[in-house]
């Protein structure tokens, strides 16, 4: 297979069967925001806004570099934002303004 054929045949998430390192039996308690992010995923699914398949596709669409560099729930929240933009539910400007507001609120405290 050529280099580009390999890219076509395997999306970033499709790792089954690839060579990989020894398993490190790591785990961590979720940060509060990570748990909220997980709950948000479930609630988005309940309301048929984003289902599990769409979420996975949204993570794949981040591309190999982001998939590799962002942590698990970082990938999720960025994918959610992108999917919501794509569906016309949110706009990038709206999100940017809201993030600014949330940030200023937390720095006041």
């Amino acid at each position: 297979m050529t280099q580009t054929e390999k890219l076509v045949n395997r999306l970033p998430n499709d790792v089954g069967g690839l060579p990989a390192d020894a398993i490190q039996r790591v785990d961590h308690e979720l940060e509060p925001w990570e748990k909220r992010c997980h709950a948000l995923a479930d609630v988005l699914d309940f309301h048929k806004l984003i289902n599990t398949e769409e979420k996975r596709c949204g993570v794949e669409a981040l591309g190999a570099e982001m998939v590799a560099k962002l942590s698990y729930y970082e990938r999720w929240i960025v994918a959610f934002a992108n999917i919501l933009f794509h569906k016309g539910i949110l706009t990038p400007t709206e999100l940017a303004l809201k993030m600014k507001e949330v940030e200023s609120r937390s720095s006041e405290g």
Binding site: V15, H38, V43, N51, V59, Y72, V102, S106
Partner: protein
Amino acid sequence: MTHQHEGDDHDHDHAHPHAEIGEGRPGYYDIMETAVRELLIEKKLIGADEIRRQIEVLDSRSPALGAKVVARAWTDPAFRARLLANGRAACEELGISFYDDTQLIVIENTDKVHNLIVCTLCSCYPRPVLGLPPDWYKAKPYRARAVVEPRAVLAEFGTIIPDDVEVRVHDSTAMVRYLVLPRRPAGTEHFSEEELAALVTRDTMIGVVPATVDITGAAP
């Protein structure tokens, strides 16, 4: 070969490098989550209280629920048959609700077959009965290797499967999740259902280790 025993397998958290941003100040992704959630609430697409309530649901799920299911299957052959026929319905019988839209297939370990679950594409997992998956289940090494060299993966968990026992790997999907029904350890004939449940850990139900009597030291 380096051996990993119980004490020394808690490596630092590579999957989580961004936690230490500032003291108490929320990070970029934390802020993004809050912003997305608040916008959806403002647009009345989700309810104001729904995230909090779903966090309560998530917190109510742990491997103890799966352990209860396994212990019941070990002691009640009719329940075991129902569980293997329809995992979700049998769990619901024990009061375990499925908050997501998934089906559950319970696969039984025997002296001929050892089962292992994985999600090669992401991190699908029987969350209603086990809670959230551990980080290693979501990380590339386990997902990549479990489907091609399950015996080597199992050996890294200290589990050696004899050559005459078939290893079956079950790759989960968004809609279909798996749970391993481990073998009941020998010498537990007089154990109560509760004592049996104490032998059933998360990892036994993922299929990476067998259930054994010596994990708790509580064997009567």
